[in-house]
Amino acid sequence: MLRLTSIDASYGRVQALRRISLHVGAGEIVSLIGANGAGKSTTLEVISGLIRPDSGRIVLGEQDVTSWRPGRLVRAGIAHVPEGRQVFGSLSVEDNLLLGAYSRTRSSREEIAADLQAQYKRFPRLHERRRQLAGSLSGGEQQMLALARGLMSRPKLLMLDEPSLGLAPIIAHQVLAEVKRLRDEGLTVLLVEQNARAALRIADRGYVVETGRIVLEGTAQDLLDNPEVQRAYLGRAYGEIWE
């Protein structure tokens, strides 16, 4: 469904990605794990068109989408739920959701209204708070909102950047359970997590990113069993929380 071939990307003179190649098959959950500053967020930003790669190719389905603008990529079926949630704090929950459908210029009002109701059904908490300012929601609720806002664009591929960041373990667990449910409903997911164990538990495959390069790839189980991965990313401290 999505294939990156030898992507280089940089911020000014700082090169952030070096020959990143990866692919995500339809219906898969693929997880990207790695330490702080490894280049995980940058990879997602390149895919969603926020950053133009210096070289390399991005293919979505059959189409070469390299250097497409974000709006066009949203219409092509890519949704990106950014790191730190980034909800629109001074707007109501409902306005946040409606903005999720911003690029759907071809959908009618009725279709969008129906999708809004579908999100409310999925996240009843958001319905209760639909008129509240998004900035006044709790961290967990904001993550739900960011996720629902992403879904309002009717994506085929959902990219999540550290959805469990800063959440209590039980809430984080529920978020990831929801991600799994979305996959079971047919969505394809590219999941960035620092919480490697939790991510690999729900993922089909994974990539390990280190200083802008992919250093390891494999099925989620292989990575979980890999002694290198265990040492670097599955430390006991994390493990205990998620046991």
Binding site: G89, G100, L116, P124, Q132
Partner: protein
């Protein structure tokens, strides 16, 4: 997520639509109330001086509303908004006085020129991250102030220039009272336009990019172009205020009102009233115009007073007066308590 949370009530679309319609209706009603009040005011206020002051409040309100769109919605700051006010006024003044243009045509030409200048300044600076627009507009302010003073052949220099009046379909707006109604009709029109704009889809996109530019971009909002458009509209508002100023019953313009002090005064109006609110510019324009009038004998200290107001505001009520008053009203009417109770009930785990 949905595991632990049972739905409390079923979503109901007609209920949503009704609420939104009600909010818009209330807003229209408030605007209508304000302008009815302004229409009746001259029945009570007969003193020419006060009529004059209220005309100025109207012009400041147009300026502040435009700047509010830029600051409160697009999250950008113009430090030279008086320059756009000045370009509007002098373009209208010069075209009508020197070249005998029709005042309405001159107003449109001024509008086009000001918008073009704003676009020239905004397009390159708003594509970059950061506060380049503030610096660039500061520069525009300085340049325009110098040109108005130095280009004596065209502008009359520091001594200023005489300007003709304006008429509608042969009806001369040559008295203070007529001009009062003319200016406030413009204020009404531009306020309604503004209210519709910020409630529209582009308005929502603007507020979104103010909160998180990254998220707005991810959703496909062309944030740079939205910022440029907001800036051009805010400059256009200033230009209209300038043209109206040029044809006022004073029949005279000079460079003084278009200098840096006015840019600061406008900034203070927006911040004092409350950025990003419909009523902020009203509160700001009324208070600052009165302060200006009050300080007229000590005009050189204006800027000190603005500085003080800004400082105190940032410390005690960064949301501005209109929000503070709104909150006070909520407390008085007991709404806050009710809302808190509801909020707490909903948050229980």
């Amino acid at each position: 997520m949905s595991v632990e949370l049972a739905p409390q009530s079923q979503p109901n679309m007609s209920d949503e639509a009704a609420l939104l319609a009600r909010r818009r209706y209330m807003q229209k009603l408030q605007i209508l109330a304000l302008f009815s009040f302004m229409a009746l005011l001259p029945l009570v206020v007969r003193n020419t001086y006060y009529i004059h002051v209220i005309i100025f409040i109207g012009l400041n309100l147009i300026l502040a509303t435009g700047l509010n769109l830029l600051m409160g919605y697009a999250g950008q700051v113009s430090l030279g908004h008086a320059a756009f006010f000045g370009i509007g006024a002098y373009t209208s003044g010069i075209l009508t006085a020197t070249y005998d243009w029709n005042a309405w045509l001159a107003l449109l030409a001024a509008l086009a020129l000001t918008s073009f200048v704003a676009w020239l300044v905004g397009r390159p600076t708003l594509r970059l991250k950061g506060h380049h627009l503030s610096m660039a507009t500061l520069g525009v302010g300085i340049i325009v102030a110098v040109v108005l003073r130095q280009w004596e052949g065209m502008t009359g220099g520091p001594a200023g220039m005489k300007t003709p009046g304006i008429s509608i379909l042969g009806f001369d707006l040559n008295t203070d009272l007529r001009y009062y109604y003319f200016v406030w009709a413009w204020v009404c029109l531009l306020t309604v336009l503004f209210a519709n704009l910020v409630e529209s889809r582009p308005g929502r996109a603007l507020r979104a990019l103010h909160d998180s530019e990254l998220a707005a971009q991810i959703l496909g909002i062309d944030t740079a172009s939205f910022k440029v458009r907001a800036f051009v509209i805010s400059a256009a508002y200033a230009s209209i205020a300038g043209s109206l100023y040029a044809h006022s019953s004073m029949r005279f313009i000079s460079p003084t009102p278009f200098a840096f002090e006015t840019s600061v005064a406008l900034l203070v109006m927006v911040v004092l009233g409350g950025q990003g609110t419909l009523w902020g510019p009203v509160v700001g324009a009324v208070s600052i115009t009165f302060i200006q009038e009050f300080l007229r004998p000590w005009a050189q200290y204006d800027i000190v007073v603005y500085g003080l107001i800004l400082m105190v505001l940032m410390i005690v009520m960064p949301g501005g007066l209109s929000r503070a008053l709104g909150r006070l009203w909520e407390i008085v009417s007991g709404r806050v308590r009710a809302r808190r109770a509801r909020g707490r009930g909903g948050a229980e785990r």
